[in-house]
């Protein structure tokens, strides 16, 4: 079963990498948004969210990620999802998120994809 939600984060090459573990529901989504906001305020504009250990997400949790996408888009930045479970990938597709956010197989791929951006 999914674990109680937790996350770790790291800034590499001025990209914020958030790695989640467990269910991305309202609680998980809010925790991601808070971590994002802290770095966004400090000027980070490109964000990678690694969902490898979050096999279950819900639409309330995703609403927080959409808010992040809005803020990044307004600021000329970008969000890239990595290591998606196929069902989560499908969900984000139905929600139309890939018109505004990227997805890559791995975090290394995401860093490469974001390398051309300032």
């Amino acid at each position: 079963m999914e674990q109680p939600f937790s996350l770790t984060s790291e800034v590499r090459e001025n990209r914020l990498i958030i790695t989640t573990n467990g269910y991305v529901n309202n609680v998980g989504g809010a925790a991601i948004a808070e971590e994002f906001q802290r770095h966004f305020t400090e000027g980070v504009r490109h964000v990678i969210i690694d969902l490898a250990l979050s096999r279950v997400v819900n639409s309330v949790g995703m609403s927080f990620l959409i808010e992040i996408i809005e803020k990044l888009t307004d600021a000329g930045g970008r969000l890239v999802f990595t290591n998606l479970d196929p069902s989560v990938d499908k969900m984000l597709g139905i929600m139309g998120l890939y018109d505004f956010a990227g997805r890559e197989a791995t975090t290394e791929d995401a860093l490469r994809a974001l390398a051309i951006r300032s």
Binding site: M1, E2, P4, Y23, N25, V27, V56, N58, S59, V60, M62, S63, I66, E67, I69, E70, T73, D85, P86, S87, K90, M91, I94, M95, G96, L97, D99, F100
Partner: protein, 152 residues
């Protein structure tokens, strides 16, 4: 609904006999994960493909969180029922809350005026998109959604 012909067995298990799991969930954060665990246990037993199980997981999650979120604060229990064969899954999710009129429910735009995806209003759309049958019955005595999904 099920085809009349007897099905091949998966590793000696009679995959054409439906198995049913019923759960009455209390209002406890994240309790839908227990229902998902039940779903996955049945699916493993019947040898269901991972992609179908993943899609069913989304449907079940959205149905249960809607029932707790929208039926009203007096709802202390949401009932969930899975009936599964190797071919088909039926999901019932029932609350005894305030109900709503699915016909007049304004399906919120799935994009905002700025062209971005809406933040909320995705549950129904996700459940519909990922299922093969979707019915809502709702009234003053609560809401029941019945979803069918082909698994083979």
């Amino acid at each position: 609904m099920r085809p009349p012909a007897p099905k091949a067995n998966v590793m000696g298990r009679a995959v054409d006999v439906p198995v049913t799991l019923k759960i009455a969930l209390p209002r406890v954060p994240g309790i839908e994960l227990v229902a998902l665990q039940g779903l996955e246990h049945l699916a493993r037993h019947l040898g269901i493909a991972a992609d179908k199980v993943g899609e069913a997981r989304i449907i079940v999650t959205e149905a249960i969180i809607n029932a707790f979120e929208h039926s009203g604060p007096d709802t202390t229990e949401v009932r969930v029922e899975f009936t599964m064969t190797a071919d088909e899954l039926t999901i019932f999710v029932r609350d005894s809350g305030r109900g709503f009129d699915p016909k007049t429910m304004v399906e919120r735009p799935s994009v905002t005026s700025r062209g971005m995806p809406s933040r909320r209003g995705w549950g129904m759309k996700l459940m519909r998109s990922l299922s093969d049958g979707f019915e809502i019955s709702s009234g003053k005595r609560g809401t029941t959604i019945t979803i069918t999904k082909r698994l083979s």
